[in-house]
């Protein structure tokens, strides 16, 4: 898109939306939010950037092929689900650190599961959208 306003705005929007998506990801356990919504938001941030500057520039920002985010996220999500198996709890049981961390709050296996989902959603959405855009 050629619009100057859109281009200028999108350069500011990208970091803001990415930060906001991480915020959404972290607050997700007891409040509305979580990996899925956060991931979608991050993907939209990159999409807006690609509308403004074209696919090539967006790919340069992302550096790695978004397809690789999917296996990484999947391993993280299922790995966090498998951890309880080692302490003889059922699959996907939430295990938590005793003390809350600064800024992040309580950290447990659910957070890692959500991060995994976040990465998978970014990877999948961007792959779908990029391949649709490229094939048009």
């Amino acid at each position: 898109m050629k619009s100057l306003i859109f281009r200028t705005a999108s350069t500011y929007l990208l970091p803001l939306m990415l930060l906001f998506s991480i915020f959404i990801l972290l607050r997700g356990h007891y409040l509305p939010g979580g990996g899925f919504v956060g991931g979608l938001m991050a993907a939209i941030a990159f999409l807006i950037h690609s509308f403004a500057f074209g696919l090539k520039e967006t790919k340069e920002i992302i550096k790695i092929n978004p397809g690789y985010l999917m296996p990484i996220g999947l391993v993280l999500a299922v790995g966090s689900g498998m951890v309880p198996l080692f302490v003889n709890d059922p699959f996907l049981t939430g295990l938590w650190f005793e003390e809350p961390f600064r800024f992040i709050g309580m950290v447990g296996s659910a957070l890692f599961f959500d991060i995994g989902v976040y990465l998978v959603v970014i990877g999948a959405t961007l792959t779908i959208m990029f391949s649709i855009t490229e094939s048009v």
Binding site: Y68, M70, P71, L74, V75, V78, M82, L85, F91, G94
Partner: protein, 507 residues
């Protein structure tokens, strides 16, 4: 009995799929890793089966949520057997794919998708939650969509449109059925539903819900009025894909029908009549369809339909003996159908065509191979003592006990049609003199392959043939197994008690 390790068959396939994703484009590494993971999965499922057989039903409540609230994973003997058989088929197909798949397909992530598909199957066999079953179904069908369309040829795309649209419709109907179940009982745990559904006065609504489930699973398992997508699509992908589809996907539908119509909906008389009618018509249409076709892939496609009809007979009669036959046949059918599609792949590799009119002289040129291929072909017909034979005895006996003479007639007719088709195929492909037949020129044929490559084609066929010989010759073991499963299915008290962790009061 609580045991959190029963999710391992699912997790190992998942790990296989994700690890293979990291080796994108490195197809040789993928081949080795896929075989390795499939072998590990086979060992794990044997372990699970032995555990369940010796110690009874194993349950885990994922996330440590108590039974009706969380998602339960249940390994009863039926589920564990299905996991074992599908791991066997998965192992064979993994090896066969390593030999037979073209490089272009492998580069588009064939192996990861194969493992995700088997993961979906294992999940569906182990879950005790109806919505989770829906999710596993979706995992399976989306993987199968990808496997079917990877080639991108005209025929495959046409087949895929039919397959995708019908399966999407089936999923939607399944979802509507789940909505009704949830509205009626307020629960999604199958064991919990089984208890609560008895208290509902309005049997009409329950029959409607059962009808929705029957249509949804019926489309997936290709029974009579909903089967036409199968012969239109199953012969289009390569043999390894057809093998996993023909062997396992339709059987997943049958599994779901057996599970839901024994546990949840119980032997309703109205449903019994419908099942009997569906069974008879499925046998007839599948058998007749197989008679008129000349492409091996299509013939096997129609034979799948015909034999799904056999399995529905057991649900139509709905006695313990009849279900025993169905379970026995299910075990036999997964092994044999997977094997048959691989055999058709080998024949395609030898001669470059699957049209039985253009094939011939196989017995003269490859006598040992032909004898090997005879095992799955004649197991399918059910020539005693091969594996397809025993189940029919139980059905006929159960039919005589309940005076369902028409169904017996259809079983005999279906067996006869199968025999006719296989005999015709044997005559055309193996015994007909092979001189003067057109031979296509392009591509590498079987006799040009190196020894190790040949074994990648032959080993899975040998492996599954040995399994089906075992099912036939050691039938007493499988009969004991299917008797136990049928007993559990007819009387699901043990299942419900283990899942919910309560003691039911016997009426």
């Amino acid at each position: 009995m609580n045991n959190s390790l029963i999710v391992l068959p699912i997790v190992i396939q998942f790990l296989a799929g994700t690890v293979l994703l990291f080796f994108w484009l490195k197809t040789n590494t993928q081949k080795v890793l896929s075989g390795l993971f499939s072998a590990i999965a086979l060992v794990i499922s044997i372990w699970l089966f032995m555990l369940v057989w010796n110690q009874g039903i194993q349950v885990t409540q994922s996330g440590n949520w108590k039974a009706p609230f969380g998602i339960s994973f249940v390994a009863d003997v039926f589920g564990a057997t299905m996991v074992l058989i599908s791991s066997i088929a998965g192992f064979a197909v993994s090896i066969f794919s390593a030999g037979s798949m073209r490089k272009e397909r492998l580069e588009f992530g064939y192996f990861p998708i194969l493992h995700f598909l088997i993961m979906g199957l294992q999940g569906a066999f182990l879950t005790g939650d109806i919505f989770n079953l829906y999710v596993w179904f979706e995992v399976v069908i989306i993987s199968s969509f990808v496997m079917m369309t990877l080639g991108g040829k005209r025929k495959q795309l046409e087949g895929a449109i039919k397959y995708v649209s019908l399966n999407l419709l089936a999923s939607t109907l399944f979802l509507v059925g789940i909505a009704f179940i949830y509205g009626l009982t307020g629960s999604l745990n199958m064991a919990d539903i089984a208890i609560k559904i008895n208290d509902i006065q309005n049997r009409g609504v329950i029959n409607v819900t059962a009808g929705l489930f029957l249509v949804a699973f019926g489309i997936k398992s290709a029974v009579f009025p909903m089967y036409f997508w199968l012969p239109a699509s199953y012969h289009t992908p390569p043999a390894a894909v057809s093998a996993i589809f023909g062997g396992l996907l339709t059987k997943l539908g049958v599994y779901a029908i057996i599970r839901s119509f024994t546990l949840i909906f119980g032997g309703d008389e109205f449903m019994g009549i419908i099942m009997s009618a569906i069974a008879a018509l499925t046998i007839l249409s599948g058998g007749l369809g197989a008679m008129m076709h000349q492409n091996m892939g299509k013939i096997f496609g129609y034979l799948i339909i015909c034999h799904i009809g056999f399995m529905m007979v057991g649900l139509g009669i709905f006695t313990e003996l009849a279900l025993m036959g169905t379970v026995f046949y299910l075990i036999h059918d997964i092994v044999v159908k997977t094997n048959l599609f691989m055999v058709s792949g080998v024949i395609l590799k030898i001669n470059g065509t699957q049209d039985i009119k253009e094939l011939g002289g196989l017995y003269k040129n490859y006598p040992m191979l032909s004898l090997l291929m005879a095992i799955p072909l004649f197991s399918l017909v059910g020539i005693p003592p091969l594996s397809g034979f025993w189940a029919k005895i139980f059905w006929i006996q159960a039919g005589l006990e309940t005076k369902e003479y028409i169904l017996i007639g259809f079983i005999v007719l279906g067996s006869f049609l199968t025999l006719w088709v296989i005999a015709k195929m044997w005559g055309e492909v193996f015994w007909k003199p092979g001189e003067g037949l057109p031979k296509k020129a392009n591509g590498i044929y079987f006799d040009q392959l190196s020894g190790a490559d040949k074994w990648q084609w032959i080993f899975p066929v040998v492996f599954l043939s040995i399994i089906s010989l075992y099912i036939g010759f050691a039938a007493e073991n499988i009969i004991v197994l299917s008797q136990k499963i049928a007993g559990d299915l007819m009387n699901p008290t043990g299942y419900i008690e283990s899942v919910l962790g309560i003691k039911l009061l016997m009426p």
